[in-house]
Amino acid sequence: MSEINEIIHQPIRLKVMAALFAMESDAEADFTFLRDHLKLTDGNLGAHLEKLESAGYLSVRKAFVGRKPRTFLRLSRAGRRAFEDYVEALRKVIDAAHVAEVKQPERRK
């Protein structure tokens, strides 16, 4: 078993990070896009974004488009690196579990 980033591993934050990571590195996504795409409520998404922002994983920009206030989210460099490390850690856990599975029947023999 390996250490996994607890902030990212929470299911909703994981999806938010995965969605932002899948975009171009200079892309910023509208709050409503993420909310609708991930089928979340304003409050739920907002709470998780705060947590990610305080960890320094994403930056939040508020702007007016026309007369409408909009919130844009962008994965920071630290967030991108943290997510890459997180995925790498997941792969290591899976590999380790696979190796353990293979060894177990051998021990039984």
């Binding site: 078993m1 250490e3 994981l14 969605a19 975009m23 200079d26 856990v93």
Partner: protein
């Protein structure tokens, strides 16, 4: 924090599925309405070529112009209203614009060099050229749907062309129905799937 192999596998699957859905929505969200537009243009203009060949030339000029202006409008509107903004996608938008613009310039050169051609040859040339561009875009932008759509319509068009030697006089109608409806159906599918 420690997780089991099963939990890690599930988390990785979540990551892959979210990434796939986001990329699909960003790539195809704008393309869908553009395909619907060109499906209608093809159906109407090829039908006009079959039923009213005397006005087909003007029909194509009007249809293509509407298609080009409409595509630019839908593309820029989609990008502006788009929930995701980035300099790299803006640059990609311009690259795509120049790609299509130059393709049509080259098509004009080839058509001038290859003159004289029959109407059916012109229809086949333009359909396969546009589908070739879809295939290139599919490979270039890793949009598998565009790749298969381009190949499928090309096969349909070629089958119609071969059959037109056995049953003459219906190629334009076939190109309009088969090509146009393929574009229309794909456009509706993408629009509904990724809206």
């Amino acid at each position: 924090m420690e997780v089991t192999g099963k939990e890690a596998q599930e988390a990785l699957q979540d990551v892959e599925s979210v990434a796939k859905s986001v990329q699909g929505r960003l790539a195809y969200g704008i393309v869908g309405p553009i395909l619907v537009l060109w499906g209608v243009v093809w159906m109407v203009c090829f039908a006009l070529t079959h039923f009213m060949p005397q006005v087909a030339g003007w029909g194509w000029i009007v249809g293509d112009s509407l298609g080009i202006v409409g595509s630019i409008y839908l593309g820029t509107r989609g990008a502006r209203a788009g929930a995701v903004r980035s300099e790299s996608s803006k640059r990609m938008g311009w690259k795509l614009f120049w790609f299509w613009f130059l393709l049509f310039i080259y098509a004009d050169i080839w058509l001038a060099v290859l003159w004289p051609w029959r109407g059916q040859q012109l229809g086949m040339f333009l359909v396969t050229l546009v589908m070739f561009a879809y295939v290139v875009m599919g490979l270039w932008l890793e949009m598998r749907f565009m790749l298969w759509l381009g190949l499928a319509v090309t096969v349909l068009a070629c089958a119609g062309y071969v059959l037109s030697f056995l049953i003459p006089g219906y190629l334009d109608l076939w190109l309009g129905l088969a090509g146009g409806s393929a574009l229309l159906a794909s456009g509706f599918y993408l629009t509904l799937r990724w809206r």
